[in-house]
Symmetry: C2
Subunit: 312 residues, 2 copies
Protein backbone atom coordinates (compact mmCIF):
# COMPACT_ATOMS: atom_id res chain seq x y z
CA UNK A 1 0.00 0.00 0.00
CA UNK A 2 1.37 3.38 -0.96
CA UNK A 3 0.29 6.94 -0.35
CA UNK A 4 0.02 7.33 -4.10
CA UNK A 5 -2.49 4.49 -4.31
CA UNK A 6 -4.58 6.08 -1.60
CA UNK A 7 -4.39 9.37 -3.43
CA UNK A 8 -5.64 7.69 -6.60
CA UNK A 9 -8.52 6.15 -4.67
CA UNK A 10 -9.48 9.58 -3.38
CA UNK A 11 -9.40 11.02 -6.87
CA UNK A 12 -11.64 8.31 -8.31
CA UNK A 13 -13.98 8.50 -5.33
CA UNK A 14 -14.33 12.20 -5.88
CA UNK A 15 -14.82 12.28 -9.63
CA UNK A 16 -16.64 8.95 -9.84
CA UNK A 17 -14.75 8.44 -13.03
CA UNK A 18 -11.34 6.89 -13.68
CA UNK A 19 -10.61 8.98 -16.74
CA UNK A 20 -11.26 12.34 -15.10
CA UNK A 21 -9.50 11.30 -11.93
CA UNK A 22 -6.47 10.28 -13.97
CA UNK A 23 -6.29 13.73 -15.53
CA UNK A 24 -6.39 15.38 -12.13
CA UNK A 25 -3.57 13.12 -10.97
CA UNK A 26 -1.56 13.83 -14.10
CA UNK A 27 -1.29 10.19 -15.04
CA UNK A 28 -3.01 8.03 -17.62
CA UNK A 29 -6.17 6.10 -16.95
CA UNK A 30 -4.57 2.64 -17.03
CA UNK A 31 -2.30 3.75 -14.20
CA UNK A 32 -5.29 4.38 -11.98
CA UNK A 33 -7.05 1.21 -13.04
CA UNK A 34 -4.03 -0.90 -12.32
CA UNK A 35 -2.92 0.75 -9.09
CA UNK A 36 -6.38 0.68 -7.60
CA UNK A 37 -6.81 -2.92 -8.64
CA UNK A 38 -3.50 -3.69 -7.02
CA UNK A 39 -4.62 -2.12 -3.78
CA UNK A 40 -7.92 -3.98 -3.95
CA UNK A 41 -6.03 -7.23 -4.49
CA UNK A 42 -3.69 -6.54 -1.62
CA UNK A 43 -6.57 -5.80 0.74
CA UNK A 44 -8.66 -8.46 -0.96
CA UNK A 45 -11.72 -6.25 -1.04
CA UNK A 46 -13.58 -4.21 -3.62
CA UNK A 47 -13.28 -0.47 -3.01
CA UNK A 48 -15.38 0.54 -6.00
CA UNK A 49 -18.53 -0.95 -7.39
CA UNK A 50 -17.81 -0.76 -11.09
CA UNK A 51 -21.17 -2.17 -12.09
CA UNK A 52 -22.86 1.09 -11.19
CA UNK A 53 -22.63 3.99 -13.58
CA UNK A 54 -21.26 6.34 -12.58
CA UNK A 55 -18.93 4.28 -10.47
CA UNK A 56 -19.75 4.03 -6.76
CA UNK A 57 -17.91 3.29 -3.56
CA UNK A 58 -18.69 0.04 -1.78
CA UNK A 59 -19.46 0.16 1.95
CA UNK A 60 -15.88 -0.71 2.85
CA UNK A 61 -14.75 1.63 0.15
CA UNK A 62 -16.41 4.52 1.91
CA UNK A 63 -14.62 3.71 5.15
CA UNK A 64 -11.34 3.26 3.34
CA UNK A 65 -11.76 6.63 1.65
CA UNK A 66 -12.32 8.32 5.00
CA UNK A 67 -9.16 6.77 6.34
CA UNK A 68 -7.26 7.44 3.13
CA UNK A 69 -8.08 11.14 3.44
CA UNK A 70 -6.56 11.06 6.89
CA UNK A 71 -3.40 9.43 5.72
CA UNK A 72 -2.93 11.61 2.67
CA UNK A 73 -3.52 14.72 4.74
CA UNK A 74 -1.15 13.63 7.46
CA UNK A 75 1.46 12.97 4.81
CA UNK A 76 1.22 16.58 3.63
CA UNK A 77 2.00 17.64 7.15
CA UNK A 78 5.51 16.23 6.87
CA UNK A 79 6.31 18.92 4.32
CA UNK A 80 4.62 21.39 6.64
CA UNK A 81 6.97 20.41 9.45
CA UNK A 82 9.97 20.94 7.23
CA UNK A 83 8.72 24.31 6.01
CA UNK A 84 8.12 25.43 9.55
CA UNK A 85 11.62 24.38 10.55
CA UNK A 86 13.14 26.33 7.68
CA UNK A 87 10.99 29.35 8.32
CA UNK A 88 9.89 28.93 4.73
CA UNK A 89 6.57 30.51 4.05
CA UNK A 90 5.59 29.85 0.50
CA UNK A 91 4.01 27.59 -2.03
CA UNK A 92 0.54 27.57 -3.47
CA UNK A 93 -2.27 28.61 -1.19
CA UNK A 94 -5.91 28.50 -2.20
CA UNK A 95 -8.20 30.87 -0.41
CA UNK A 96 -11.91 31.50 -0.84
CA UNK A 97 -13.61 34.76 -0.02
CA UNK A 98 -17.31 35.45 0.27
CA UNK A 99 -18.69 38.00 -2.22
CA UNK A 100 -19.52 40.70 0.31
CA UNK A 101 -16.00 40.73 1.69
CA UNK A 102 -14.10 40.28 -1.57
CA UNK A 103 -14.29 43.77 -3.10
CA UNK A 104 -13.56 45.69 0.08
CA UNK A 105 -10.92 43.59 1.73
CA UNK A 106 -8.96 42.36 -1.26
CA UNK A 107 -7.67 45.70 -2.63
CA UNK A 108 -6.40 46.72 0.80
CA UNK A 109 -4.91 43.34 1.55
CA UNK A 110 -3.38 42.03 -1.62
CA UNK A 111 -0.62 44.57 -2.26
CA UNK A 112 0.71 44.43 1.28
CA UNK A 113 0.57 40.68 1.35
CA UNK A 114 2.38 39.86 -1.86
CA UNK A 115 5.05 42.35 -0.93
CA UNK A 116 5.57 40.76 2.47
CA UNK A 117 5.28 37.14 1.32
CA UNK A 118 6.46 37.02 -2.28
CA UNK A 119 6.95 33.25 -2.19
CA UNK A 120 3.31 32.47 -1.56
CA UNK A 121 1.27 31.93 -4.68
CA UNK A 122 -2.21 32.96 -3.65
CA UNK A 123 -5.11 31.55 -5.60
CA UNK A 124 -8.12 33.56 -4.65
CA UNK A 125 -11.65 32.53 -5.50
CA UNK A 126 -14.93 34.24 -4.81
CA UNK A 127 -17.25 31.64 -3.31
CA UNK A 128 -20.41 31.46 -1.26
CA UNK A 129 -20.20 30.31 2.33
CA UNK A 130 -21.74 27.02 1.35
CA UNK A 131 -19.20 26.39 -1.40
CA UNK A 132 -16.41 27.37 0.96
CA UNK A 133 -17.46 24.88 3.62
CA UNK A 134 -17.66 21.99 1.24
CA UNK A 135 -14.37 22.84 -0.44
CA UNK A 136 -12.51 23.18 2.83
CA UNK A 137 -13.86 19.81 3.86
CA UNK A 138 -12.88 18.28 0.53
CA UNK A 139 -9.39 19.71 0.88
CA UNK A 140 -9.70 21.88 -2.23
CA UNK A 141 -9.36 25.09 -0.30
CA UNK A 142 -6.61 25.84 2.22
CA UNK A 143 -8.55 28.58 3.95
CA UNK A 144 -11.31 31.11 3.42
CA UNK A 145 -12.59 34.41 4.66
CA UNK A 146 -16.21 34.31 5.67
CA UNK A 147 -18.79 35.59 8.08
CA UNK A 148 -18.76 33.59 11.30
CA UNK A 149 -19.48 31.74 13.52
CA UNK A 150 -20.31 28.81 11.30
CA UNK A 151 -20.67 26.19 14.01
CA UNK A 152 -19.01 23.55 11.87
CA UNK A 153 -17.01 21.01 13.84
CA UNK A 154 -14.55 20.35 11.05
CA UNK A 155 -13.69 23.98 10.52
CA UNK A 156 -11.74 26.26 12.81
CA UNK A 157 -12.19 30.00 12.89
CA UNK A 158 -9.97 32.92 13.77
CA UNK A 159 -11.70 36.25 13.96
CA UNK A 160 -10.11 38.90 11.75
CA UNK A 161 -12.38 41.83 12.52
CA UNK A 162 -15.86 42.93 13.38
CA UNK A 163 -17.46 45.00 10.68
CA UNK A 164 -20.36 47.16 11.81
CA UNK A 165 -23.42 47.55 9.68
CA UNK A 166 -24.47 51.00 8.60
CA UNK A 167 -28.01 51.88 7.68
CA UNK A 168 -28.54 53.14 4.14
CA UNK A 169 -31.78 55.09 4.16
CA UNK A 170 -32.88 56.90 1.01
CA UNK A 171 -34.80 60.20 0.83
CA UNK A 172 -38.37 59.13 0.97
CA UNK A 173 -37.91 56.62 3.83
CA UNK A 174 -39.68 57.13 7.14
CA UNK A 175 -36.35 56.99 9.04
CA UNK A 176 -34.51 59.35 6.73
CA UNK A 177 -34.78 62.37 8.97
CA UNK A 178 -33.66 60.70 12.16
CA UNK A 179 -29.98 60.87 13.15
CA UNK A 180 -28.42 57.74 14.54
CA UNK A 181 -30.64 54.70 14.23
CA UNK A 182 -31.36 51.89 16.61
CA UNK A 183 -31.88 48.23 16.03
CA UNK A 184 -35.44 48.57 17.22
CA UNK A 185 -36.10 51.07 14.43
CA UNK A 186 -35.65 48.36 11.83
CA UNK A 187 -38.62 46.73 10.24
CA UNK A 188 -38.30 43.64 8.16
CA UNK A 189 -40.84 44.62 5.57
CA UNK A 190 -39.00 47.60 4.20
CA UNK A 191 -35.52 46.12 4.35
CA UNK A 192 -33.45 44.92 1.44
CA UNK A 193 -31.35 41.98 2.47
CA UNK A 194 -28.07 40.42 1.48
CA UNK A 195 -28.03 36.77 0.78
CA UNK A 196 -24.84 35.76 2.42
CA UNK A 197 -26.08 34.59 5.77
CA UNK A 198 -24.76 37.53 7.77
CA UNK A 199 -26.08 37.01 11.17
CA UNK A 200 -26.19 39.80 13.66
CA UNK A 201 -24.65 38.91 16.91
CA UNK A 202 -25.48 39.03 20.58
CA UNK A 203 -28.68 40.81 21.49
CA UNK A 204 -29.37 41.33 17.83
CA UNK A 205 -29.62 37.64 17.19
CA UNK A 206 -33.41 37.61 17.32
CA UNK A 207 -33.58 40.15 14.60
CA UNK A 208 -31.49 37.85 12.52
CA UNK A 209 -33.97 35.07 13.06
CA UNK A 210 -36.83 37.28 12.10
CA UNK A 211 -35.00 37.96 8.86
CA UNK A 212 -34.61 34.32 8.17
CA UNK A 213 -38.27 33.58 8.69
CA UNK A 214 -39.10 36.16 6.07
CA UNK A 215 -36.37 35.16 3.71
CA UNK A 216 -38.76 33.99 1.02
CA UNK A 217 -40.47 37.34 0.74
CA UNK A 218 -37.24 39.30 0.50
CA UNK A 219 -34.73 40.00 -2.19
CA UNK A 220 -31.93 37.52 -2.53
CA UNK A 221 -28.85 39.09 -4.01
CA UNK A 222 -25.71 37.43 -5.26
CA UNK A 223 -22.08 38.38 -5.86
CA UNK A 224 -21.26 42.05 -6.33
CA UNK A 225 -24.72 42.91 -5.26
CA UNK A 226 -23.99 45.62 -2.75
CA UNK A 227 -24.07 48.24 -5.51
CA UNK A 228 -27.34 46.84 -6.75
CA UNK A 229 -28.65 46.95 -3.22
CA UNK A 230 -27.92 50.66 -2.99
CA UNK A 231 -29.52 51.31 -6.37
CA UNK A 232 -32.64 49.37 -5.46
CA UNK A 233 -32.82 51.25 -2.23
CA UNK A 234 -32.57 54.55 -4.13
CA UNK A 235 -35.47 53.36 -6.25
CA UNK A 236 -37.65 53.33 -3.17
CA UNK A 237 -37.72 49.61 -2.48
CA UNK A 238 -36.73 50.11 1.13
CA UNK A 239 -33.74 50.83 3.30
CA UNK A 240 -30.81 48.47 3.63
CA UNK A 241 -27.81 47.68 5.79
CA UNK A 242 -24.28 47.96 4.43
CA UNK A 243 -21.14 46.47 5.92
CA UNK A 244 -19.01 49.41 7.02
CA UNK A 245 -16.15 48.90 4.58
CA UNK A 246 -18.58 49.13 1.65
CA UNK A 247 -19.70 52.58 2.73
CA UNK A 248 -16.21 53.91 2.06
CA UNK A 249 -16.75 53.42 -1.66
CA UNK A 250 -20.02 55.32 -1.91
CA UNK A 251 -20.17 58.66 -3.68
CA UNK A 252 -20.92 61.88 -1.80
CA UNK A 253 -24.62 61.86 -2.55
CA UNK A 254 -25.02 58.29 -1.40
CA UNK A 255 -23.02 58.94 1.75
CA UNK A 256 -25.64 61.41 2.82
CA UNK A 257 -28.08 58.52 3.09
CA UNK A 258 -25.92 56.71 5.64
CA UNK A 259 -27.20 56.45 9.18
CA UNK A 260 -24.92 54.97 11.78
CA UNK A 261 -26.26 52.92 14.63
CA UNK A 262 -26.11 54.02 18.22
CA UNK A 263 -23.51 51.93 19.92
CA UNK A 264 -23.10 49.10 20.27
CA UNK A 265 -23.74 48.84 16.55
CA UNK A 266 -24.73 45.51 15.06
CA UNK A 267 -21.75 44.03 13.29
CA UNK A 268 -20.72 40.95 11.41
CA UNK A 269 -17.82 38.83 12.50
CA UNK A 270 -15.38 38.20 9.67
CA UNK A 271 -12.92 35.36 10.18
CA UNK A 272 -10.30 33.39 8.41
CA UNK A 273 -11.45 29.77 8.52
CA UNK A 274 -9.62 26.54 7.82
CA UNK A 275 -9.88 22.82 8.26
CA UNK A 276 -9.32 21.48 11.74
CA UNK A 277 -6.33 19.48 10.50
CA UNK A 278 -4.48 22.82 10.61
CA UNK A 279 -2.37 22.38 7.52
CA UNK A 280 -0.33 25.35 6.29
CA UNK A 281 -0.85 27.21 9.54
CA UNK A 282 2.18 29.40 8.90
CA UNK A 283 0.49 30.87 5.86
CA UNK A 284 -2.85 31.19 7.61
CA UNK A 285 -1.15 33.09 10.40
CA UNK A 286 0.63 35.27 7.89
CA UNK A 287 -2.67 36.20 6.25
CA UNK A 288 -4.28 36.79 9.61
CA UNK A 289 -1.54 39.13 10.75
CA UNK A 290 -1.55 41.15 7.55
CA UNK A 291 -5.32 41.58 7.54
CA UNK A 292 -5.43 42.44 11.22
CA UNK A 293 -2.81 45.11 10.67
CA UNK A 294 -4.73 46.63 7.79
CA UNK A 295 -8.06 46.53 9.52
CA UNK A 296 -6.80 48.21 12.68
CA UNK A 297 -6.44 51.32 10.57
CA UNK A 298 -9.60 50.97 8.54
CA UNK A 299 -12.19 50.18 11.19
CA UNK A 300 -11.28 52.58 13.94
CA UNK A 301 -13.89 55.19 14.45
CA UNK A 302 -15.76 56.37 17.44
CA UNK A 303 -19.40 55.61 17.08
CA UNK A 304 -19.02 51.85 16.93
CA UNK A 305 -18.23 49.57 19.75
CA UNK A 306 -16.97 46.11 19.02
CA UNK A 307 -18.96 43.43 20.74
CA UNK A 308 -17.34 40.12 21.53
CA UNK A 309 -18.58 37.24 19.40
CA UNK A 310 -21.26 34.76 20.26
CA UNK A 311 -19.81 31.51 21.52
CA UNK A 312 -21.84 28.66 20.16
Amino acid sequence: MTITQLYYVLAVAEHQNFTKAAEKCFVTQPTLSMQIQKLEDELDVQIFDRSKKPIELTDVGRKIVTQAKNIVNESYRIQDIVDQQKGFIGGEFKIGIIPTVMPTLLPMFLKTFIKKYPKIKLKIEELTTEEIISRINEGHLDAAIASTPLGNDNIKERVLYFEPFVGYIPNHHRLHKSGKIQIDDLEIDDMLLLEDGHCFRDGVINLCKAFKDHADDSFQLESGSIETLVKLSDEGLGMTLLPYLHTLNLNEKEKQNLHYFVEPAPAREVSIIYHKSELKMQIIEAIQSVISGIIRGAIAFENVQIISPVSK
Copy 2:
Protein backbone atom coordinates in the same frame (compact mmCIF):
# COMPACT_ATOMS: atom_id res chain seq x y z
CA MET B 1 7.45 10.13 -0.06
CA THR B 2 6.24 6.63 0.65
CA ILE B 3 4.92 4.85 3.71
CA THR B 4 7.86 2.47 3.40
CA GLN B 5 10.34 5.31 3.65
CA LEU B 6 8.61 6.58 6.78
CA TYR B 7 8.69 3.09 8.19
CA TYR B 8 12.43 2.90 7.56
CA VAL B 9 12.91 6.23 9.29
CA LEU B 10 11.05 4.91 12.32
CA ALA B 11 13.19 1.81 12.41
CA VAL B 12 16.45 3.76 12.29
CA ALA B 13 15.18 6.26 14.83
CA GLU B 14 14.35 3.43 17.16
CA HIS B 15 17.52 1.39 16.85
CA GLN B 16 19.84 4.33 16.29
CA ASN B 17 21.64 2.10 13.88
CA PHE B 18 21.10 1.50 10.17
CA THR B 19 22.34 -2.06 10.22
CA LYS B 20 20.07 -3.24 13.02
CA ALA B 21 17.13 -1.31 11.64
CA ALA B 22 17.66 -2.95 8.28
CA GLU B 23 17.45 -6.41 9.83
CA LYS B 24 14.20 -5.53 11.56
CA CYS B 25 12.79 -4.33 8.27
CA PHE B 26 13.98 -7.46 6.48
CA VAL B 27 16.00 -5.52 3.94
CA THR B 28 19.69 -4.84 3.53
CA GLN B 29 21.42 -1.86 5.04
CA PRO B 30 22.05 -0.01 1.75
CA THR B 31 18.30 -0.03 1.15
CA LEU B 32 17.76 1.99 4.30
CA SER B 33 20.66 4.31 3.59
CA MET B 34 19.41 5.05 0.13
CA GLN B 35 15.72 5.36 0.86
CA ILE B 36 16.27 7.61 3.83
CA GLN B 37 18.67 9.73 1.83
CA LYS B 38 16.08 9.97 -0.87
CA LEU B 39 13.49 11.17 1.56
CA GLU B 40 15.93 13.67 3.03
CA ASP B 41 16.69 14.93 -0.47
CA GLU B 42 13.02 15.23 -1.32
CA LEU B 43 12.28 17.18 1.84
CA ASP B 44 15.65 18.91 1.58
CA VAL B 45 16.35 18.45 5.26
CA GLN B 46 18.51 16.19 7.41
CA ILE B 47 16.46 13.76 9.48
CA PHE B 48 19.44 12.10 11.13
CA ASP B 49 22.65 13.54 12.45
CA ARG B 50 25.15 10.98 11.25
CA SER B 51 28.11 12.68 12.86
CA LYS B 52 26.94 11.53 16.28
CA LYS B 53 27.61 7.95 17.34
CA PRO B 54 25.27 6.36 17.85
CA ILE B 55 23.24 8.17 15.23
CA GLU B 56 20.83 10.83 16.48
CA LEU B 57 17.70 12.53 15.23
CA THR B 58 17.92 16.17 14.31
CA ASP B 59 15.33 18.58 15.72
CA VAL B 60 13.23 18.37 12.58
CA GLY B 61 13.90 14.67 12.52
CA ARG B 62 12.20 14.26 15.86
CA LYS B 63 9.10 16.05 14.62
CA ILE B 64 9.10 14.06 11.43
CA VAL B 65 9.33 10.82 13.39
CA THR B 66 6.33 11.79 15.49
CA GLN B 67 4.34 12.49 12.38
CA ALA B 68 5.66 9.40 10.62
CA LYS B 69 4.40 7.24 13.49
CA ASN B 70 0.99 8.75 12.95
CA ILE B 71 1.00 8.01 9.28
CA VAL B 72 2.32 4.49 9.56
CA ASN B 73 -0.20 3.68 12.27
CA GLU B 74 -3.06 5.17 10.32
CA SER B 75 -2.01 3.09 7.36
CA TYR B 76 -2.35 -0.10 9.40
CA ARG B 77 -5.88 0.91 10.12
CA ILE B 78 -6.83 0.41 6.49
CA GLN B 79 -6.25 -3.31 6.91
CA ASP B 80 -8.20 -3.07 10.16
CA ILE B 81 -11.17 -1.62 8.33
CA VAL B 82 -11.10 -4.44 5.82
CA ASP B 83 -10.82 -7.09 8.53
CA GLN B 84 -13.73 -5.57 10.38
CA GLN B 85 -15.81 -5.58 7.22
CA LYS B 86 -15.07 -9.23 6.58
CA GLY B 87 -15.65 -10.19 10.16
CA PHE B 88 -12.15 -11.58 10.04
CA ILE B 89 -10.58 -11.88 13.43
CA GLY B 90 -7.06 -13.12 13.06
CA GLY B 91 -3.45 -12.36 12.43
CA GLU B 92 -0.60 -11.87 14.82
CA PHE B 93 -1.41 -10.23 18.11
CA LYS B 94 1.23 -9.33 20.67
CA ILE B 95 0.06 -9.12 24.22
CA GLY B 96 1.99 -8.40 27.40
CA ILE B 97 0.98 -9.62 30.83
CA ILE B 98 2.34 -8.55 34.19
CA PRO B 99 4.01 -11.30 36.24
CA THR B 100 1.41 -11.45 39.02
CA VAL B 101 -1.41 -12.00 36.58
CA MET B 102 0.37 -14.28 34.13
CA PRO B 103 0.36 -17.62 36.01
CA THR B 104 -3.23 -17.44 37.26
CA LEU B 105 -5.03 -15.96 34.30
CA LEU B 106 -3.21 -17.56 31.41
CA PRO B 107 -4.00 -21.25 32.08
CA MET B 108 -7.69 -20.48 32.42
CA PHE B 109 -7.77 -18.19 29.43
CA LEU B 110 -5.56 -19.69 26.78
CA LYS B 111 -7.36 -22.91 25.99
CA THR B 112 -10.75 -21.30 25.61
CA PHE B 113 -9.32 -18.50 23.53
CA ILE B 114 -7.39 -20.47 20.94
CA LYS B 115 -10.37 -22.72 20.52
CA LYS B 116 -12.71 -19.81 19.91
CA TYR B 117 -10.31 -17.76 17.76
CA PRO B 118 -8.02 -20.21 15.99
CA LYS B 119 -6.92 -17.65 13.41
CA ILE B 120 -5.33 -15.34 15.94
CA LYS B 121 -1.66 -15.99 16.55
CA LEU B 122 -1.16 -14.80 20.09
CA LYS B 123 2.34 -13.81 21.12
CA ILE B 124 2.34 -13.55 24.87
CA GLU B 125 5.14 -11.97 26.83
CA GLU B 126 5.58 -11.53 30.55
CA LEU B 127 6.53 -7.90 31.13
CA THR B 128 6.55 -5.37 33.94
CA THR B 129 4.04 -2.54 33.86
CA GLU B 130 6.81 -0.17 32.91
CA GLU B 131 7.94 -2.27 29.99
CA ILE B 132 4.35 -2.68 28.88
CA ILE B 133 3.71 1.05 28.80
CA SER B 134 6.76 1.84 26.75
CA ARG B 135 6.13 -1.03 24.33
CA ILE B 136 2.53 -0.08 23.77
CA ASN B 137 3.63 3.46 23.06
CA GLU B 138 6.33 2.26 20.68
CA GLY B 139 3.82 0.10 18.88
CA HIS B 140 5.59 -3.15 19.75
CA LEU B 141 2.70 -4.47 21.76
CA ASP B 142 -0.90 -4.59 20.59
CA ALA B 143 -2.34 -4.80 24.08
CA ALA B 144 -1.51 -5.87 27.60
CA ILE B 145 -3.07 -7.03 30.82
CA ALA B 146 -2.04 -4.98 33.80
CA SER B 147 -3.13 -3.51 37.07
CA THR B 148 -4.92 -0.23 36.54
CA PRO B 149 -5.62 2.67 36.50
CA LEU B 150 -2.37 3.81 34.95
CA GLY B 151 -3.34 7.39 34.27
CA ASN B 152 -1.51 7.40 30.97
CA ASP B 153 -3.10 9.61 28.33
CA ASN B 154 -1.89 7.53 25.42
CA ILE B 155 -3.24 4.28 26.76
CA LYS B 156 -6.85 3.23 27.08
CA GLU B 157 -8.08 0.76 29.65
CA ARG B 158 -10.96 -1.67 29.82
CA VAL B 159 -11.49 -3.29 33.18
CA LEU B 160 -11.55 -7.07 33.03
CA TYR B 161 -12.11 -7.86 36.69
CA PHE B 162 -11.47 -6.83 40.25
CA GLU B 163 -9.32 -9.25 42.13
CA PRO B 164 -9.56 -9.06 45.90
CA PHE B 165 -6.51 -9.40 48.08
CA VAL B 166 -6.43 -12.09 50.69
CA GLY B 167 -4.26 -11.87 53.78
CA TYR B 168 -1.70 -14.64 54.18
CA ILE B 169 -0.84 -14.79 57.86
CA PRO B 170 1.53 -17.51 59.10
CA ASN B 171 1.38 -19.21 62.50
CA HIS B 172 3.46 -16.98 64.72
CA HIS B 173 1.93 -13.73 63.49
CA ARG B 174 0.00 -11.46 65.86
CA LEU B 175 -3.06 -11.54 63.57
CA HIS B 176 -3.06 -15.29 63.07
CA LYS B 177 -5.80 -16.04 65.55
CA SER B 178 -8.25 -13.40 64.34
CA GLY B 179 -10.90 -14.37 61.80
CA LYS B 180 -11.62 -11.91 59.04
CA ILE B 181 -9.15 -9.09 58.90
CA GLN B 182 -9.59 -5.39 58.31
CA ILE B 183 -7.52 -2.91 56.40
CA ASP B 184 -6.79 -1.10 59.64
CA ASP B 185 -5.22 -4.26 61.04
CA LEU B 186 -2.41 -4.02 58.53
CA GLU B 187 0.95 -2.64 59.53
CA ILE B 188 3.55 -1.75 57.02
CA ASP B 189 6.48 -2.99 58.99
CA ASP B 190 5.51 -6.62 59.06
CA MET B 191 4.21 -6.79 55.50
CA LEU B 192 5.90 -8.42 52.57
CA LEU B 193 5.17 -6.51 49.41
CA LEU B 194 4.87 -7.24 45.74
CA GLU B 195 6.78 -5.05 43.41
CA ASP B 196 4.30 -4.56 40.68
CA GLY B 197 2.72 -1.31 41.72
CA HIS B 198 -0.61 -2.74 42.75
CA CYS B 199 -2.45 0.10 44.23
CA PHE B 200 -5.40 -0.43 46.47
CA ARG B 201 -8.38 1.53 45.48
CA ASP B 202 -10.87 3.92 47.03
CA GLY B 203 -10.65 4.30 50.77
CA VAL B 204 -7.61 2.06 50.78
CA ILE B 205 -5.64 4.45 48.67
CA ASN B 206 -3.82 6.00 51.61
CA LEU B 207 -2.55 2.66 52.68
CA CYS B 208 -1.12 2.27 49.25
CA LYS B 209 0.74 5.53 49.57
CA ALA B 210 2.08 4.51 52.92
CA PHE B 211 3.46 1.42 51.22
CA LYS B 212 5.18 3.46 48.60
CA ASP B 213 6.84 5.73 51.12
CA HIS B 214 8.35 2.70 52.77
CA ALA B 215 9.20 0.98 49.54
CA ASP B 216 12.93 1.19 50.13
CA ASP B 217 12.76 -0.69 53.39
CA SER B 218 10.61 -3.48 52.06
CA PHE B 219 11.18 -6.53 49.95
CA GLN B 220 10.99 -6.05 46.22
CA LEU B 221 10.04 -9.22 44.43
CA GLU B 222 10.07 -9.97 40.74
CA SER B 223 8.41 -12.35 38.32
CA GLY B 224 7.00 -15.59 39.72
CA SER B 225 7.57 -14.25 43.17
CA ILE B 226 4.24 -15.03 44.76
CA GLU B 227 5.46 -18.46 45.76
CA THR B 228 8.57 -16.91 47.21
CA LEU B 229 6.42 -14.46 49.04
CA VAL B 230 4.51 -17.26 50.71
CA LYS B 231 7.71 -19.06 51.61
CA LEU B 232 9.26 -15.94 53.11
CA SER B 233 6.12 -15.36 55.06
CA ASP B 234 6.27 -18.90 56.41
CA GLU B 235 9.82 -18.15 57.49
CA GLY B 236 8.47 -15.53 59.81
CA LEU B 237 9.35 -12.43 57.81
CA GLY B 238 5.84 -11.06 58.12
CA MET B 239 2.39 -11.46 56.68
CA THR B 240 1.55 -10.72 53.08
CA LEU B 241 -1.32 -10.06 50.72
CA LEU B 242 -2.12 -12.40 47.87
CA PRO B 243 -4.29 -11.69 44.86
CA TYR B 244 -7.30 -13.97 45.16
CA LEU B 245 -6.62 -16.12 42.12
CA HIS B 246 -3.23 -17.07 43.52
CA THR B 247 -4.79 -18.45 46.66
CA LEU B 248 -6.50 -21.15 44.59
CA ASN B 249 -3.11 -22.76 43.93
CA LEU B 250 -2.02 -22.99 47.55
CA ASN B 251 -1.80 -26.36 49.26
CA GLU B 252 -4.10 -27.25 52.13
CA LYS B 253 -1.67 -26.27 54.85
CA GLU B 254 -1.03 -22.88 53.27
CA LYS B 255 -4.72 -22.29 52.78
CA GLN B 256 -5.17 -22.43 56.54
CA ASN B 257 -3.11 -19.29 56.78
CA LEU B 258 -5.50 -17.33 54.58
CA HIS B 259 -7.55 -14.60 56.17
CA TYR B 260 -10.17 -12.89 54.08
CA PHE B 261 -10.96 -9.25 54.50
CA VAL B 262 -14.26 -7.98 55.81
CA GLU B 263 -16.08 -6.48 52.91
CA PRO B 264 -15.51 -4.40 50.99
CA ALA B 265 -12.23 -6.15 50.52
CA PRO B 266 -9.31 -4.29 49.02
CA ALA B 267 -8.87 -5.40 45.45
CA ARG B 268 -6.77 -4.68 42.45
CA GLU B 269 -8.28 -3.64 39.15
CA VAL B 270 -7.03 -5.76 36.30
CA SER B 271 -7.60 -4.38 32.80
CA ILE B 272 -6.77 -4.98 29.22
CA ILE B 273 -4.95 -1.89 28.02
CA TYR B 274 -4.09 -0.69 24.53
CA HIS B 275 -2.92 2.33 22.63
CA LYS B 276 -5.42 5.11 22.13
CA SER B 277 -5.16 4.68 18.38
CA GLU B 278 -7.40 1.65 18.91
CA LEU B 279 -5.86 -0.64 16.36
CA LYS B 280 -7.02 -4.27 16.24
CA MET B 281 -10.00 -3.51 18.43
CA GLN B 282 -11.83 -6.61 17.23
CA ILE B 283 -9.16 -8.80 18.77
CA ILE B 284 -9.00 -6.74 21.95
CA GLU B 285 -12.74 -7.11 22.31
CA ALA B 286 -12.47 -10.82 21.68
CA ILE B 287 -9.91 -11.20 24.45
CA GLN B 288 -11.96 -9.04 26.76
CA SER B 289 -15.08 -11.10 26.25
CA VAL B 290 -13.31 -14.43 26.77
CA ILE B 291 -11.61 -13.30 29.96
CA SER B 292 -14.77 -11.73 31.34
CA GLY B 293 -16.61 -14.97 30.76
CA ILE B 294 -13.98 -17.01 32.55
CA ILE B 295 -13.66 -14.65 35.46
CA ARG B 296 -17.37 -14.45 36.13
CA GLY B 297 -17.08 -18.05 37.26
CA ALA B 298 -13.77 -17.77 39.08
CA ILE B 299 -14.26 -14.67 41.18
CA ALA B 300 -17.79 -15.13 42.48
CA PHE B 301 -17.82 -15.71 46.18
CA GLU B 302 -19.66 -14.08 48.96
CA ASN B 303 -17.28 -12.36 51.28
CA VAL B 304 -15.96 -9.91 48.76
CA GLN B 305 -17.71 -6.92 47.42
CA ILE B 306 -16.45 -5.32 44.27
CA ILE B 307 -15.83 -1.64 44.62
CA SER B 308 -15.94 0.63 41.58
CA PRO B 309 -12.55 1.83 40.43
CA VAL B 310 -10.91 5.11 41.30
CA SER B 311 -11.18 7.64 38.54
CA LYS B 312 -7.93 9.54 38.30
